[in-house]
């Protein structure tokens, strides 16, 4: 979706603000929002792509004026309500009003270290050979799906070169919508600054994205 999250190439956000002490969290609630998001993620009630999609689905104005952990909090609220784990009425009341729905598992404190160590690898066995090899010229698709996509707007319809072939990885565009992992070959594709940004661009800039095979066509 062309949401408020797709920021590459936008103007007007001002200088990059670096904090003197760089705290991980700016308030106690940010710590809890972080921990709750990870704990619910580990429950198996949803996957990482659904989680990202819930955040980017915030209306652009709201996304851009919410702080980072506000966006995470709103993402969790959207997922628990959409999946029927928590009702809107419960969020309003701040208390459980109905029995819980079943979820695959509950992350216990004693299992946190093991769960984090396992992580969430996205590589899957290859069912067929890669369509592209290092050095191949490709062009990215021009596409504007209303659902989840990891092809940023600034890199759509651009000619680039395959630089790395990463193996076969879970496809977020389907996984975010509960339509399965549908794994695809994943590539790093590099573009010149001139191709992305036009003739005013710095000629010594090269930008790459990681692109699933269906984002690409032969150039």
């Amino acid at each position: 979706m062309n949401g408020g999250h797709d920021l590459g190439g936008m103007h007007g956000f001002g200088p990059i603000e670096r904090e003197a002490d760089e705290p991980w969290f700016h308030a106690p609630w940010e710590r809890r929002a972080f921990g709750l998001t990870l704990a619910m993620g580990a429950s198996g009630a949803w996957n990482l792509d659904m989680s990202r999609h819930a955040r980017e689905s915030l209306p652009p104005g709201e996304y851009l004026t919410s702080s980072y952990y506000e966006i995470w909090t709103k993402g969790v609220e959207r997922l628990v309500t959409r999946l029927g784990l928590v009702s809107e009425a419960e969020l309003k009341a701040g208390a459980a009003l109905s029995p819980p729905a079943p979820i695959p598992r509950v992350l216990r404190a004693a299992d946190v270290a093991a769960a984090l160590a396992r992580g969430g690898p996205t590589e899957r066995p290859a069912a067929h050979p890669a369509r592209y090899a290092q050095g191949d010229a490709v062009v990215t698709r021009v596409t504007h799906p209303p659902g989840h996509i990891r092809l940023p707007r600034y890199a759509r319809g651009k000619r680039g070169t395959v630089e790395l072939v990463h193996g076969v990885h879970v496809f977020p565009d389907t996984n975010a919508h509960g339509q399965g992992e549908e794994p695809q070959w994943l590539y790093t594709v590099r573009f010149s600054g001139l191709e992305l940004w036009g003739e005013e661009a710095d000629p010594e800039v090269v930008v790459s994205i990681d692109a699933w095979e269906s984002y690409l066509e032969p150039a």
Binding site: G8, W29, R32, G35, Y69, G94, L116, P152
Partner: protein, 222 residues
Amino acid sequence: MSGDHGRRHGAHDHHHHDHEGALSPMDLRVRALESILVEKGYVDPAAVDELIETYESRVGPRNGARVVAKAWADPAFRERLRADATEAIVSLGYIGRQGEHMVAVWNTPDEHNMVVCTLCSCYPWTVLGLPPTWYKSAPYRSRAVLDPRGVLAEFGVALPPETRIRVWDSTAEIRYLVIPMRPEGTQGWSEEALAGLVTRDSMIGTGLPHDPASVAAAESGP
């Protein structure tokens, strides 16, 4: 560091209220959410504590600094890191979430690497810990791909105009770790001393390692 807290963006304004005693709307909202999730049995609050504790105290950029220092000092490890960064990094014990698929990218005199996630905040947690706020912010995410040289200038990094800037936008689950160039004048340094030169920003690509002369001066200072 700007340290200019009076000039924050609207999105950060609420931070000022969080220190004033009364619970902020977000504080109330997250408390409500946690109460419901715990009451329904979806979340173990002790697991939430443990997750916070892990990323606040146990994981951080010193992990990445050790990887870089070893790559500088140990040719066999350097080759391993080039061949399969995930395996090489796991061999040092840095394993897990947001580090499942690692690629090391190497600065040279001709090319400087820099990492961003324009779509969200993808970052190599196992080696760098949680990202700083600026990395997740709209100013960095919007301009790192459009004007990386300008971004570097804001970080005080001035590269020769002929140095190519190579920006990696982490749009998938591959996580990139920048291996800065080993500073001149560090022959014979131990891995531990080398790691002391490696800054977090130098592993994102928005900074360079510390100058060994300034570190040596600070150590022998008054």
